[in-house]
Amino acid sequence: MYDDPVGDATSALRDHEARRIIEAVVLAATDPVEPSLLAQLVELPVARIEELCAELAEEYFASGRGFVLVRIAGGYRYQTHPELAPYVERFVLEGQHARLSGPAFETLAIVAYKQPISRGQISAIRGVDVESVLRTLLQRGYVEEVGRDPGPGNAVLYGTTREFLERLGLDSLASLPPLGDFVPGPEVVESLERGLRVSDQPVPSSDEPGPATG
């Protein structure tokens, strides 16, 4: 962009130095490092930090390193390459997390998408009492109290934690797949509708016998 070769060289040097600082700081961190913090240390704009981190990540990936640089829970961190899981697992046994049960995941999904939400509201969606499941989620640090319902009863409201983002490998709640992706397709809706049809007169679309699903 500039014709000044010295300026170019200087900025290349700066970038190289900035990358080294990012590498050192992220390596020393125990939690994901926010780009704003890196920007302060390196004295570059946040946007530039993001670019440099993306370049680093790409570089590691391209040269087949055993680690990756990822953006998680709003920051950058090093983690092992997923392909090497079998080796790492053999070495770091205690890193293994206890699996959550299916119902626990359903409750977690409801909290994730509907937060802040009360226990009663979760129960209403699931059709079962969720107390013990919610307790498990609280204990494992996936979910936390985030406030109180201002309405009568002042029910405790729950939301997901930073730990939740880390465990799912998400940068933020915005990176959750949109809930709309999971709304049942027309064929499921139709079969549910038919299953609960009140009158025996066939619904126009289901007149022809034969499964509607493919």
Binding site: R126, G127, E131, R194, T213
Partner: protein, 274 residues
Amino acid sequence: MPYAVRTEVFEGPFDLLLHLILKQEVDLFEVSLTRIVDAYISELERMEALDLDVATEFLLIAATLVELKARRLLPSLEDVELDEELLRFEERDLLLARLLECKTFKDAARALEARVRLADRSLPRRAGPEEPFRSLAPDPLERVAPSRLLAAALRALAPKPDPLVSIEHIAPIRASVREAVEWLIAQLPESERVSFRDLVRDAPSKLEAIVRFLAVLELYKQGAVDIEQFTNFGDLQLRRLQEGENALDAASLAEWDDDATPRPPPVRAEAVRE
């Protein structure tokens, strides 16, 4: 891999209903509400140990299903009052909406689970800074008030509240068919018609009304009462029959309340009570 035969465990009424409806869709070309209702109720029978709250929810849905089924079996809908018709659709749509919501979150849960499984394949670096730096790091416990530790301890140690103690759930559904039968007999004057609506007017809950209805059916089955209905969806008129009075079949009644009975009735209302 051999085809594994497993007993399905349904975690809630929506779970079960979803399964039944969607399975029907696969098995049969035409989904039949009748079959679904029957399957639902027989599934209820199969479940032996039902959690109190779960049982209530299962039962309410069973009641809604039975209601939908009953309405479908009625020959003509011509005289239906508009209100009733609307109500009918509301109930159905409400159930449908809840089923869809349940299914949506079920699928979302699977996606989250897959994500966790994927994320589990990578381990983050946790070593932290090496030595000269490590001692520079502020101690995480510095400036932590002991009261926060107390709060954490209480959170961690709090015993799980006994789910059976929850009074709000028990109180409204303290209804057994056997008791309702006794109560009904006391309510029914000899040879005089009584409106069913009057009988359930003071019912404290929907469930209590359902139980009273089951009690009426039981009395009818035993020949203790006669039931008439003059219009579709009209009120039921009950009349106590003389000869049935002393002929109540105690064994049949016991079925409603006794868990150990070999032939459980289709809907075991007392499961809610225990």
